[in-house]
């Protein structure tokens, strides 16, 4: 497919890696060339992040070969990879906000003269780097904390290049950027390739690959499906390669009762995050808001639940417009929300299952609102443990000792204590094993059958298709197309990743 005369900068052959019983990568090949942008795409769980970690030296492959400039190498640690010139820029910038850009770039390997830091030499080097990246030289002496997220990402790139990187891995760099910022990023990437750097570019947003990538490697289920010049592909074709053969998901068609919307978002907006979002959910209906990471989809959930305030548009419960200022108020209106980040937003780590379930419903589970009715609390906890099939010896088990799937069920159980009218689920099965995922999906359907209006906010494509009666695609911070349950994965992915040609 691609001519392979020259020696590639980096070649990975027949890589395999397993974590315990999970085969993260079964068989993967990757060839990265000098001066080219190589895109790596695949759905969540396809093995992309494991591949990056292997290249960055953060994980070691079980089998397979890695060649750098034609030489066989071992990437046993991140320092080994950096020494070879392989640098990685992760999504979360690992920078020190109180230090300047130059200091951040040289931290731990300062240029010194007579025992003191040679600011002039460091600044000069940093200015050189910034010039290469087309960035303003004032960055050099600015404190990182005063820069925007996009600027901090550029600093991370500069930091990676300061160690004379010849291979630069960018892990979803565009997810946190606005359109204008993405232009700057592309400009930076083009300058780098012009200077001979090989760039590995991971992204969910397929449309942008056509503007920046030279070649695309597609991964699916722990395998590399193939590598293609970008010019030979369309968004639809890439989407097709990513999702593979469409399984005829034997999902019984559900009859959704007619009726007025229980939850409706009319042109809901939050400045800088999302705008003009329209979606409505009826009683007994499951609607999925499907969007890629960074599309604004997760911020919508936070706004419905009163964590963030909207800056425009309307939110209606029943037919009444409401202004939700706090999660407590949202709960009183009959809204429950399963947060996306289980560890940070959901779990009370070293507290028991019963504690985790009753938190947020203490008024209901107390006598006169003061004394916790412990018998009732226990009964509710046991009932929900049974209903959600949480695997635990007793309800006093600390949640931090449980597996991801079980912990997620406990946090979900908390949302069901008061039988909400509206249930919002943000990434309900992220970091959850397959068995628990099935069970959670079954439970969501059950809840809808009982008349709950369910809004699933997800970046997991098969999940959206499996459980939703309607799917609303979110792209670029706004709702775009709507699909029925019979839509194909390719259609959905193409709609969400841009370019529905």
């Amino acid at each position: 497919m691609i001519d392979t005369n020259e020696t590639p900068r980096l070649r990975l052959t027949a890589i395999a890696k397993r974590f315990g019983a999970v085969r993260a990568i079964q068989h993967a090949d990757l060839i990265v060339r000098a001066g080219k942008v190589h895109a790596l795409v695949g759905e969540n769980g396809a093995g992309k992040s494991t591949m990056i970690k292997i290249v960055a030296g953060a994980e070691t492959a079980d089998t397979g070969e890695i060649e750098f400039e034609g030489e066989r190498v071992r990437l046993g640690s991140t320092t080994a990879a950096i020494a070879l010139g392989i640098a990685t820029v992760y999504q979360e910038p690992q920078l020190f906000p109180e230090l300047t850009v130059a200091e951040n770039i040289f931290l731990g390997r300062e240029l010194k003269r007579a025992g003191r830091v040679d600011w002039a030499a460091q600044n000069a080097k940093v200015v050189e780097l910034l010039e290469l990246l087309g960035l303003p030289e004032r960055y050099a002496t600015a404190e990182v904390g005063t820069l925007s997220v996009a600027e901090q990402q550029q600093v991370s790139i500069a930091k990676a290049l300061a160690s004379d990187a010849t291979v630069l891995i960018l892990d979803e760099p565009s997810a946190i950027l606005t359109d204008a910022e993405i232009e700057v990023l592309f400009d930076v990437v083009r300058r780098l390739t012009a200077a001979g750097v090989a760039v590995v570019y991971i992204s969910h947003r397929l449309d942008e690959l056509f503007r920046i990538a030279d070649e695309v490697t597609v991964m699916r289920d722990g395998r590399t499906i193939g590598t293609y010049p970008i010019t030979e592909l369309s968004v639809r074709q890439i989407a097709h390669l990513m999702v593979g053969e469409e399984l005829s998901d034997a999902r019984p068609h559900r009859e959704v009762p007619e009726g007025p919307a229980v939850l409706e978002l009319r042109g809901l907006s939050r400045a800088g995050k999302f705008r003009d979002v329209d979606v409505s959910v009826r009683a007994g209906e499951i609607v999925a808001l499907y969007g890629l990471v960074g599309s604004g989809v997760s911020e919508i959930a936070a706004c419905v639940y009163g964590i963030d305030r909207s800056t425009g548009g309307q939110l209606l419960i029943g037919a009444d417009p409401v202004d939700i200022r706090s999660p407590g108020q949202a709960q009183r209106l009959g809204i429950a929300l399963l947060p996306a980040n289980r560890k940070v937003e959901g779990m009370f780590g070293f507290q028991s299952i019963a504690f985790n379930i009753s938190a947020g419903h203490l008024g209901l589970l107390s006598r006169f609102g003061v004394w916790v009715d412990r018998a009732r609390e226990k009964a509710v906890a046991l009932k929900l443990i049974e209903r959600l099939a949480v695997k635990t010896p007793h309800e006093r088990q600390p949640i931090s000792a449980m597996s991801g799937g079980n912990a997620q069920k406990v946090v979900l159980a908390r949302q069901l204590v008061e039988r909400p009218k509206v249930l919002v689920l943000a990434e309900p099965t992220q970091g959850v094993d397959v068995g628990a995922k099935e069970e959670i999906h079954r439970l969501i359907t059950e809840l809808a059958e009982e008349g709950t209006a369910v809004l699933v906010v997800t970046s997991d494509l098969p999940e959206a298709l499996r459980i939703a009666d309607r799917i609303q695609v979110v792209r670029g911070g706004t709702t775009t197309d709507e699909f029925g349950p019979d839509a194909s994965q390719v259609d959905l992915l193409a709609a969400a990743a841009g370019g529905s040609e």
Partner: protein
């Protein structure tokens, strides 16, 4: 890049040499002194300012090290106890063996360094929160100090340490030596924190110790150094404390000093959360607190009223910082 731009980048060394907080403090101190000078003519005289500077010195000196400790995200509440140990040890050495000035200072500094080492090892390698460890060692140090005291007080301390501030021999150009030395050490620490890799690493550790370790900073060693440095400066400050008093040292020496030092650091604009701070601010903070104390006495008010002002200063200084941070976030 143009030559002009290059020169500008080279010149603008980082970070800004002084922060806003320091300017504000200078302004407040000047205003306070002016007000005091108007209301009590005796204030702006050598006889009033010199004791003020002598009293500022020990708090400001320990404050230099405390600033570094707090920049790393730690804290040391044992300095009061450590001051007690060093000063009683030194006072006894001066009374009994009648050691010379140099030996007394060395003894005090060495003793302080040893106490700092104990804290540093426990905190850097015991992986326990600094406030808890130093609460514990504070008690241990006080026990040690009281044991050395034996009976109530140490009497008849010779004037060996008068060099640091009491009387005309303790001054150069009218400035007490204790304050001069504090100025010099503050300047040295300011330079060290600004211009050396080791100094900058303290800030990185306070920002994110895990990321600092990954970047190649030797976190444990740096943390250990911060506490040892605190001990060393406590030793020197103890000499100032002895020099400040009469020929008697009683068991209340050092009591409550840890909070006075932390107050000076905080008023000076150092963030208790770590990662940001200035030794210059601490010096000004200590000077401000002492100026208020001196002013309150000279105005004939109850001396304890000055503590009320310390409390208010802390609230105002940190509150302003919080509001600034909030404004930055909302921007």
């Amino acid at each position: 890049m143009t030559a002009v731009a290059e020169a500008r980048i080279r010149r603008r060394v980082l970070p800004a040499p002084v922060t806003g907080q320091e300017f504000v403090l200078v302004g407040v101190i000047v205003a306070l002194w002016a007000a005091l000078a108007i209301s009590t003519p005796a204030f702006l005289t050598a006889g009033s300012i010199q004791p003020l500077l002598v009293a500022t010195a020990p708090v400001a000196l320990v404050g230099v090290a405390m600033t570094i400790v707090i920049i790393t995200g730690g804290i040391d509440v044992s300095v009061g106890g450590a001051i007690m140990v060093c000063s009683v040890l030194t006072a006894k050495a001066l009374v009994g063996p009648e050691v010379s000035l140099g030996v007394a200072v060395l003894l005090s500094v060495a003793a302080g360094g040893l106490l700092g080492l104990v804290n540093g090892v426990l905190i850097a390698y015991g992986r326990v929160h600094a406030i808890i460890i130093t609460f514990g060692t504070a008690n241990l140090f006080m026990f040690l100090g009281l044991q050395i005291f034996g009976s109530g007080t140490v009497n008849g301390i010779p004037g060996t340490l008068a060099f640091f501030g009491r009387g005309p021999d303790g001054r150069t150009l009218g400035i007490p030596h204790a304050f001069l030395i504090t100025l010099l050490i503050t300047a040295a620490a300011w330079w060290y924190l600004r211009h050396t890799a080791g100094g900058r690493h303290f800030f990185a550790i306070g920002g994110d110790p895990q990321a600092a370790r990954l970047a190649g900073v030797r976190v444990q060693r740096r943390v250990l150094l911060a506490y040892v440095l605190t001990g060393l400066l406590v030793g020197l400050a103890s000499c100032f404390v002895i020099a400040q008093g009469t020929s008697t040292l009683d068991q209340s020496v050092g009591a409550g000093k840890e909070l006075a030092v932390i107050a000076a650091v905080v008023i000076g604009g150092t963030s208790i959360m770590g990662g940001r701070g200035s030794v210059l601010g601490t010096l000004l903070g200590a000077l401000l607190v002492q100026s208020v104390a001196s002013g309150v006495t000279q105005l004939g008010w109850r001396s304890q009223l000055s503590d009320l002002f310390v409390g208010i200063f802390i609230i105002v200084a940190v509150g302003a910082d919080l509001l600034r941070a909030r404004a930055r976030r909302n921007r």
